[in-house]
Point group: C2
Chain length 768, copies 2
């Protein structure tokens, strides 16, 4: 639990001998960060360049150093390869286990209990392909225990066992999370976004989180809760990335470089979640990452590809596809169908906005009321309710990704699913010999399926609101997609019926003259899924590309794009934030959104501290303060850093010192450096000031001072200040007027100001 990011400190200790090469006089701990703090991107990148220069200049000296330089250059690629392999392998493991455990709720395989239903029937091979879910070797629990399959009692028995397994799985999951890795809950994407933007949460990407999240994710998915494994897979991949970083000094020691790796790992995570390497890279670029140089783009792509190929070679679904719901459509779409697609987009937007509001309200309630004190009970209750309501309906009994797969499916002539229950009749009017056109009318199975799907929709819509945010790993890609897919399929079948019964309408005449094959309800399901996912997450390009990679046809991009665009516009009109940003704000993380432009006409002087009536800014004078005075300032003020000026009167800025570095350096000097006492003077200048000969030895702290602090004038518009913070990744910026130091703006001040201007509570920003 104290692994992962935590070890930065230890490394600082152990690696201090090496670090001495680069940062002269650096005390151990100088240049590291505390937990729940923001890194300084500029400093981290500078450190990496120093390190790089060091290696490059040494490489000319000896063969060994040259080899080290080459291996250093290639370590990034090696790391990507390892991340891809590990993420792909873990994803395969999770897929296979979840598949098996989901089936375990309903029955067991006689050949070996470790086979899932499909595999079991495939091995026993006494059935045809279509019948693959009903074979003699697979026994439902009632069959196995009480030897009956038909009738009310076996049904109730199976029902009971189903709920029991579900509750057991979720109990195990929530207990593991609670005891071993509290960070393993949720989807993890809001936190990863925050970490990538430069925040430090130690242990969030550590090995315990990885192990527990992997195990509990399988349990949570298998328990039948309305959640998906896609979001948590991103977290798992990022954990892999972070852990593998420890193998390479370059990435272990540098927070900025490590975040490059994590961006690539996130891409690998999405790549295996959806079988979409390009979509994964774009997701990382669009949604998750903060600092994404082009070098990272190429490496992310490599990691995403390796991960996808690893998963493919594991072949968890036995169809040599990476996801359960890969689809191929055969019928082109008609231009008029854009109207239902846009309607689906509007539904997606509305649902997204509703979901975000309801979920955030519920999560806030959980945070502020007694409810949050009983996470285990909450999980058990929700699981029990879900299982009890889900079992009677065959579309909720199966796993959500199987449901999506069935909804996306383009009905073929051999499909036995109820959704494909079409009655084929020879069309009498057209029965010429040459072109025997068959007509398909909708059978009773489709009507039953419609009702069941409608009930499934209502269950999913409500239960997901309560599920997302519980103390188990939970993603919401899959539930959102399921909601959209159900609505899409319903609409698709509706339009199909409309076209079938009104074939003489002019719009259907030339389009649907040859039976009902003109409309593909599976495509509607897919478009609906994209719309709902877009409404919840506000993804755009990455969403369309992920869906494109699922279908593989450029042709279907236009419907997907129309739906995604409408969905985003509708949802944005109701509330600007996507679900991840809403959760970031709920948790008070210091995340500076790169997408939103700051549009208010305030100036730096309105934001900086000290405010008008505050005491003046605490500054250090470059050459006339004693250790005691400095310590007094540190004790009196809570600031994380202090500007250094030439003199109190001139307020000419010369540098900036971080509190942490200052405290560590003074402590160390008092211990190690002879004669440094409270009366010793501290100086930040190049040469020591002339002191009376009786004074104690003075302490030079120039090395810990940042000689190039960022400054803006008090007249600088805040939009420019926000831009600077965002693009350069600053922690703080000093404010001057006519070149006199006036105040300071920290990242927290910027975030608070943005919250205030958006009429939100500025005190919701908790961390610095």
């Amino acid at each position: 639990m104290d692994e992962g990011f935590a070890s930065y400190n230890d490394v600082g200790m152990n690696g201090s001998m090496k670090m001495m090469d680069f940062l002269e006089e650096a005390a151990p701990g100088v240049g590291t960060y505390e937990d729940f703090n923001t890194i300084d991107w500029v400093r981290e990148k500078s450190r990496d360049r120093d390190r790089h220069r060091e290696i490059a200049s040494k490489s000319k000296e000896s063969m060994c150093a040259l080899l080290r330089s080459v291996s250093d250059a290639f370590s990034g690629w090696l790391l990507m390869l390892l991340i891809g392999l590990m993420a792909g392998a873990l994803a395969g493991l999770i897929d296979i286990s979840a598949h098996w455990m989901t089936d375990l709720k309903e029955g067991v395989c006689l050949i070996g209990f470790w086979f899932n239903r499909e595999h079991c029937c495939w091995i026993s091979s006494d059935t045809t392909y279509e019948d693959r879910n009903n074979c003699s070797e697979w026994r439902s629990w009632s069959q196995l225990v009480i030897g009956q399959t038909e009738g009310a009692f076996p049904y109730i028995f199976n029902y009971f066992i189903y709920v029991l397994w579900a509750v057991m799985f979720s109990l195990l999951a929530v207990s593991l999370v609670r005891w071993f890795a509290p960070y393993a809950c949720g989807s993890g994407i809001p936190e990863i976004k925050t970490i990538l933007s430069g925040f430090i949460i130690r242990g969030y990407l550590g090995k315990w989180t990885l192990i527990i999240k992997t195990v509990t994710l399988v349990l949570a998915v298998s328990s039948g809760l309305s959640l998906g494994k896609e979001g948590p897979l991103v977290h798992v991949a990022c954990c892999c990335g972070n852990i593998l970083c420890h193998l390479f000094t370059k990435y272990r020691k540098n927070e900025a470089k490590r975040r490059e790796v994590l961006s690539a790992a996130a891409a690998a995570g999405v790549s295996v979640a959806f079988g979409a390497p390009i979509g994964g890279v774009l997701f990382s670029l669009e949604e998750v990452s903060y600092y994404f140089p082009l070098k990272t783009l190429w490496r992310s792509f490599f990691a995403a590809l390796v991960a996808a190929f690893t998963l493919r070679s594991i072949n968890p679904f036995g169809n040599s596809r990476l996801v359960l719901f890969y689809v191929e459509f055969h019928t082109p779409w008609h231009l008029l169908e854009l109207i239902p697609f846009i309607l689906l987009g509007m539904f997606g937007g509305l649902w997204g906005a509703f979901f975000i509001r309801a979920n955030i309200a519920w999560c806030r309630r959980r945070k502020t009321t007694k409810l949050g004190k009983y996470p285990v009970l909450e999980v058990l209750l929700v699981t029990a309710i879900t299982a009890v309501l889900a079992f009677p309906n065959e579309y909720t009994r199966i796993s959500t990704s199987e449901l999506i797969s069935e909804l996306f499916n383009d009905c073929g002539p051999l499909d036995e699913s109820k959704l494909c229950d079409y009655v084929t009749v020879t069309n009498a009017t057209n029965s010429t010999n040459e072109n025997q056109i068959l007509d398909k009318s909708v059978g009773p199975g489709v009507y039953t399926a419609m009702w069941q799907l409608f009930l499934a929709l209502i269950l999913k819509v409500f239960i997901t609101v309560f599920t997302f945010g519980m103390k188990v790993p939970s993603g919401l890609f899959i539930p959102s997609m399921a909601v959209g897919a159900i609505v899409g399929r319903l609409l698709g079948v509706g339009i199909e019926l409309l076209a079938y019964y009104n074939r003489d309408w002019s719009i259907f005449k030339d389009w649907c003259s040859q039976g009902t094959d003109c409309i593909t309800p599976g495509l509607y399901a897919m478009v609906g899924a994209a719309a709902c996912l877009g409404g919840v997450t506000r993804m755009t390009v990455s969403l369309v590309v992920i869906m494109f990679e699922l279908t593989g046809g450029l042709e279907y991009i236009v419907p997907l794009m129309a739906a995604a665009m409408t969905s985003k516009w509708v949802a944005d009109a109701i509330g600007r934030e996507g679900i991840y940003d809403a959760h970031i704000r709920l948790n008070g993380y210091p995340f500076l959104e790169a997408k939103e432009e700051f549009s208010h006409k305030t100036l730096a002087m309105d934001v900086m501290r000290p405010r008008r009536n505050d005491p003046v800014l605490a500054v250090l004078i470059q050459d006339s303060m004693t250790v005691e005075q400095v310590e007094a300032i540190i004790a009196e003020t809570p600031y994380s850093g202090y500007p250094v000026v030439v003199s109190q009167a001139s307020q000419r800025l010369i540098g900036f010192v971080l509190r942490r570095d200052l405290v560590i350096s003074i402590e160390r000097a008092r211990k190690k450096q002879d004669g440094v006492v409270s009366a010793s003077s501290i100086y930040f200048t190049e040469h020591s000031p002339s002191l009376p000969p009786t004074s104690p030895p003075s302490l030079k702290l120039r090395s810990i001072m940042d000689l190039s602090p960022f400054t803006v004038t008090d007249q600088t518009p805040m939009e420019i200040v926000v831009d600077i913070f965002r693009k350069l990744g600053l922690r703080q910026c000093l404010v001057t007027h006519n070149a006199r130091l006036l105040g300071i703006i920290t990242k927290k001040d910027v975030l608070k100001h943005i919250a205030q201007m958006a009429n939100q509570d500025p005190d919701s920003i908790l961390f610095n």
Copy 2:
């Protein structure tokens, strides 16, 4: 010719009444840029935000203003739609015309001279599909004029006509370029990169350039020169974008917003060039764009899709594909094949590096010697040589994209091409009834084709070096791909033969047991093409995605990626610059590369001006200078801007004034404002300084002063300064020491410093 970017100035004049709302007291011309100058991104973005705020605040007042606000918000999408439509339509026009004119060199259609050969034969429909290039209605020139087809004389006659047409086309092309639009030559991508980074080249994207480039591109492609239309299509699309910007005030008046549109237009250009919308967006992101906010990503994608669909509905190739060389492969690749793929990557890298060196050396020669004085003669000579050498070889006689299409082709059983001349024999050892395995041996046609391809390779390799950079529109995607495709196909056939004759080798045993179908020479051609294109342009992700969109199979990404990666590494080891960057440097454009990290340990004080022995920095004093004094400073110094300080003694910085704004304001005040004479005092403070009552009226210029100039300390490492310039898009930055103004660093200084540190000639940076 003076259109496009040029009209910024005129707009400033005509639109000054409106601008008065936003920038109080702004004289006409203040806030505009001169030709061959760099824009200030921060200022442009601020102006756009001001405009946006204005509209947003007004929108609450009336219904009309609300409508204007909504239409303003949607104008970006409308613009993208228009760009997509226009780019797609132009690409279709170019494709169709070039196809027709290329065929015109060999013959004419009797049904109508405006049909190309394929279309002609398709209409006459007296032939089967395979024979579509030889039908009775299509007459070669010898057939038509002298009534003979066989024998030496008709061959020579056709040869002569072929060369004649080629020379005529290129003469027309070069003349049009020379007389009407000199900016229409070349590929345009280096200039577009520079323009997108914030440089102004008036007329480069104007309507004359568009018209002439479109026409001459068709002529140049048809003339048979070794060039492609893909790069110029990006230029054409950008011209469309720039011209359509004039329809919307928001984009017409703001250089930063306009560049967002141009980025999207570039994506649309690549989208139609390769039929790859996602690849186009990534190309724009990776290769061309400088400022690419996420909003642009989504819009670019939209524009790219619209363009692709427009082109598809035009269907220029009659195969409902967007490109001539769309491919589908059927055989999977073997892991061992990665070795030849990596070899192809190495070849691509070597060729790329060789090409860049040779081409740049030749272009430099053209610039510096007499050669550059005779562009028409040069073009005619190169065309004549190309045509004379190309005609006898059927692989060079056809257009380069047809050649690529043939090389990529996966031989089917019905293919009649020489490359597919396989002799099918029944394999006696395996002739069981159940599984009749056919064996294919290589026929004589393949050997002939190999020789011809080898000769074609030599021609392409050398002639392309001289072609790229001539005064006709010329892209090098297609020639590079052709070189790679030839080498790839040769290697592929070689390996196929190796496998065929050594089927008992252990590596081929289980892999190639069933005939030679185990190796797809077309895939080798594709990998080779990707490798060579990668070596020349140093594209990475976008290259792989473009190729992925050409094949549509995720399976072939790994070979492509392996080749692209090897190619980039090999090429980068020889020379860091891609062809576009090399041409940017050759032309001395001020382009600050975003990909390369600046890695030298210099400080801001090493780069700033004035240097140690220079005269002191020219500054303005905030309230104690007269018009005369200021005019003297302007006359004496060539700087494009002046810092304003509190007093000469303190050197406390308060702002920065641009030379252009200062000149315009003083001129205007002298004309319009009563009593402003040479002795009038100028002040930049909020309130006028107290002056003796006899003094002439003073001139307040605070409104043209930038109150928030960027400053860094003299100790700031240059790597951070470069980062700031790059990320914020600065034109200049002031340097201070202990808060006293010391000097200034302009973008030109930064570029010169980078050139110097890279041991290049710093004086090659020509513009500011």
